[in-house]
Symmetry: C2
């Protein structure tokens, strides 16, 4: 039997990283390495304004980054929150996952750890992100707009041909967030979870609401009952959305992707959501998902959508 | 029928706070207020060296505090990580739970929020905690001791006589932790979780391992299947301990307490663990729990144990 491997990730922005990682997966590289490689690719691309270099700043015009890494074989976790001016948060998170203690570091402490471990420093605020910030400050001042949007975390779940699984996330969080705000992305069970024997899941959207339901853990738990990833994703996400509307009065945007050790995958969302999948029998493909009657409708992204995406991310600010 | 209410909390140190909160519960006060009141009591007591004032410092001799609050009716969460020099972290967390965004703040951002919202500043490092730190630094230097212990979070679950539930946690985290280290206590699903329709749980122990299994969420999930809290706690905790030993090679100390909307409670632990319970038909009582063949053996704390406890916490450093 041909070895199975696969990778699924949130948002169109994951595509180029997935394409690169797929070459490694085909050469029987480890899930841990491939997921880190792919996320670094997204972090390094300056036109993705919600992850890494070029990520949109907080209300003080500081780019504060969150990231996490989880090894599905050992359940080892590394996470950072509110780190500034390091080039690849996901690699710092992965390094932290190798420690026995102090796996989740925030703020100045996370920066100290990254410095001591030789990670590359970069001013992560681009001219373009600064322009977005200036524009938003002006708009809030003039029109009283809600300052919060642009919370598009890249999250990936990876299965390698040896059956190892890993997951990682990286984000600049809510645009115009308060200083020190941490979302779901570095929180085990909310932004990510993986167990190589069961599968993995990762979430994006309004972290404040995702953590009210430990969405990624719940999906992996449903996978452990033998559910197909698509059913697990839909059940967990729509139940949480319903529960939040009932108990909290509203439910923010949320989207999830997941995969099991057979390379079967699922996705669910309560807003329009793009995602990327590749596997032993699927070229890297960009899909669009939409919610419809508590199920997720999935279609391959059209040429038109892809063109508009390119225009949008490169448009003058 | 007499109205049911109850409260369960981690560690002996919760006792005085519970005694105070019980008076409020008897007067039909809300769970949210009672749990905050009780945790504040523990935070304010200088001889508890793992929570609030008098908490043991990080490796840089800074007292960095984590806390969380969750409202079981709305699932609203507030959390802070690595905050310094504010008197009552739990109250800051509760205030954050009332915000729509930015509910989890860390480090300098958390301090800024607390300052802007009028919370009381105090230097949280006591002479006594400084002496413990000096002594440990010396011991590490001379004997190469492992610097990590003393990770005793206070966590409580509260049910009021109207059926509302709430949970909260507060801790200074691992003694000698790295600057910026965040444990499970402010992490939804790991350190705490509550849903007034189902029940609540809170954990203490090695946060790095508790978050590998989202222990509190898993217990509440088992309660949602109708399991008795004692069975839910034992099943979740021993399964996670076993899984960590198998996959990660070791499992740190962990203990949990939980309660359902009928006021039935459960506790599980893989080390000796003291806890406190009070309810409509139980005076505030201190118990000792011990693991035995993957079940938890519970007994009321003896006079001898209580005397030794008093001596230990007041002993000269």
């Amino acid at each position: 039997m041909k070895p199975k491997w696969g990778m699924i990730a949130t948002w169109r922005m994951a595509y180029e990283g997935i394409v690169e990682a797929v070459q490694s997966l085909e050469r029987k590289q480890y899930a841990n390495d491939c997921v880190e490689l792919a996320i670094r690719h997204v972090e390094d691309f300056p036109f993705y304004k919600s992850v890494g270099y070029g990520g949109l700043p907080n209300e003080q015009c500081e780019v504060e980054l969150d990231a996490a890494f989880m090894d599905g074989n050992t359940l080892a976790i590394g996470a950072i929150g509110g780190i500034m001016d390091f080039k690849n948060p996901v690699s710092i998170a992965r390094k932290l996952s190798e420690e026995r203690y102090n796996n989740f570091l925030v703020g100045a402490g996370a920066e100290k750890y990254a410095h001591h471990n030789g990670f590359e420093r970069t001013n992560m605020l681009t001219d373009r992100a600064k322009k977005w910030w200036d524009k938003r400050v002006k708009a809030i001042h003039e029109k009283g707009l809600s300052p919060y949007d642009g919370h598009d975390t890249v999250g990936m779940v990876c299965l390698d041909s040896m059956g190892n699984m890993a997951t990682a996330t990286s984000t600049s969080g809510l645009f115009m967030k308060k200083k020190g705000r941490v979302g779901d992305s570095p929180l085990s069970g909310s932004g990510f979870y993986v167990d190589s024997d069961i599968g993995g899941a990762t979430a994006t959207g309004l972290g404040e609401d995702i953590m009210k339901g430990c969405l990624s853990y719940e999906i992996v738990r449903l996978l452990s009952e033998g559910k197909h990833p698509q059913n697990a994703a839909d059940q967990a996400l729509y139940q949480l959305t319903d529960k939040l509307q009932r108990k909290y009065g509203t439910a923010g945007a949320m989207s999830v992707v997941c995969m099991n050790p057979d390379g079967e995958w699922g996705v669910s969302t309560n807003v329009e959501f793009s995602f990327v999948v590749a596997s032993h029998d699927l070229e890297p493909t960009i899909y669009i998902a939409n919610p419809q009657n508590k199920q997720t409708v999935i279609e391959v992204a059209s040429e038109k959508w892809l063109d508009q995406y390119q225009k949008r991310i490169h448009q003058p600010v």
